[in-house]
Amino acid sequence: MKKILIFAIVAALIAPAVFANGGSDKADDGITIAFCFQDLETEFWVAGHSAITNTLEAQGIKVIEKNANEDANRQLEQVKDVIVQGVDGVIIIPQDGESAVTIAKECNSAGVPIGVFNRPPADKSADALVVVANNEAIAEQAVEYIAQEAMKLGRKVTPAIMVGDLGDPNAVGRRKGFYNVIDKYPDLWTGAPIEIPTKWDSNTALANLQSAMQANPDIDFLFTSSDFLYPVIKSVLAPLGKWQKIGDDSHILLAGLDGDKTACSLQKDGYVDATGVQDVYAEAQMLLDAMLAAIEKGEKTPNEWLYDDGFALTQANMGEREMDMWGCKILAGE
């Protein structure tokens, strides 16, 4: 009896969370698209999620949402589940490039069109509609602006890069774009860039940035592979007296990539020099247009890679292009 009572208490405690993730997802007669995302850890993914769901719902399409909570296996199971439910198409934000391939193959063999949003499959062995930011080109544009600013200083600059998870093709592309510019101006830098691993984790980023700043106090250009790390950067640079606005002698040239509202606010306040921007709304629209066209044509395994070349919002073009950055739109709406 006692055991049953304890079981009931525990069940009552965990029930809200279990049922919050559950619910009936049966498809009806209209078009139904499953949207399976790995999680929404940053503002970018939150914006991408609402861009996709809002656009689909505005067109009267039923959306089944599944959150895998950063678990690639769970995401695969969720996709299998929605295929059984008879959805017309699947859109995923995968955990990584490898799992994207596995999931796409699962959809291919079931004859369900699949779209991959902003985290590309590791290879092209499976058919999929893939929309991806051209991370290399976007990073290049932001770092190019910094290089031009560095030239104006009339001295050599010590560059550093906060590298994302090396299993994520986005992180690899951004690192490549950064190095393209570094290699383009070999005489501008004091030496090889200092690489700071973050694994897309704030605590790792904090510890490694602190170590890097201690080991190389002369770092005066920092490129972060994602804007979500700005609070960490601030907490490391501020105690060192290096969290300063542009124009101050202690200012560190700062650039990032994504285009979130924190970056927008910091750029407006004069702390950040440039931001590589992915056009999250255009990316969502591109993917949905391609997916709906495939469903209409009855294509089971559409295969196309769509690229967002993005742009760099810099201190020089803030006036004209500010509202092209999705983070600035969100900030303006608040």
Partner: protein, 327 residues
Amino acid sequence: MKDRNWQRFILKNTTFILFVLLFLIFGILAPRFLSFKNLEIILSNSSYIGIIAVGMTFVLLTGGIDLSVGSTMYLSAVSSGTLIAAGWPIAPTIAVSLLIGIAMGYVNALIITRLKIVPFLATLVTMTVGRGMGLFVTKSVQVDFPDSITLMSTVKVFGFIPLQIFIFGLVVILAMVFLRLTKSGRQLYAVGNDPLAAERAGIQTRPLITSTYVISGFFAALGGFISITQIGRVSAGFGSGDEFDAIAAAVLGGASLMGGVGSVFPGTVLGTVMIQMIQAGLVYTAVDIYLHPIVMSLIIFFAVLLDSVRTGQLKKMERRTIMKITS
């Protein structure tokens, strides 16, 4: 005889000797590594995971495991962020987040001690449920903390000890005192060594085991709070994977996954700081970032291997001594 004493000294302090050796090697390769500031940074960044690892040590001592600490960190941090955003003052907010940690620990203990479900499965469930609850509250959206919280990480106690290191130190001292000087502390080792024998000897195992999960939950929430004072933001992945770092730190410090063996100091503290030191050392010495996981894993594997060899050697030496005495 003298040689034997030296041998015993070296064997008993293998992990510490390895720690010093690594510190010196990194220092030779990058002289700035030997600075006092670097030591402070390493300790500061070890603090939050160290606090969680201390809680984990209590659980491991009983032969249990707590996989839910990362989710507890997330749930309690999300709660405090939500309450602060709602205008709550900081002190009651911290109290609520710590209470959530205690509650999570208590639920774990209930499942394990009353429903007799193995700790691995029980805490795996609460790990999933805890994160699910946090995600339900936030809808996966990150929670930002105000400067009043992040400025705490710059506070120096007595004018020179960073707050996070001070709290870590306090936790370590309290845990040490509990484990070494109290009856309950010593009984934990007995329970971990042989729960049935401990019960037969009159030890109340259930409340002891319950207390370890409550302590673990409390320290997970506290560690989570320390972490947010440093990073200022809680995203959906906050705390994810930290359970394994905490277990690795405790095991590297000599705790056994089978229970009954382990210490908070120097054990777990040394394990935690060593992991952080290796991470910092790799950055200082500019090792290729693609090699970081390999080098890190190899050093940790070597340390654990060394620990296992020295445990065997020590047992052999002790056996020889006993045989000599009895003959």
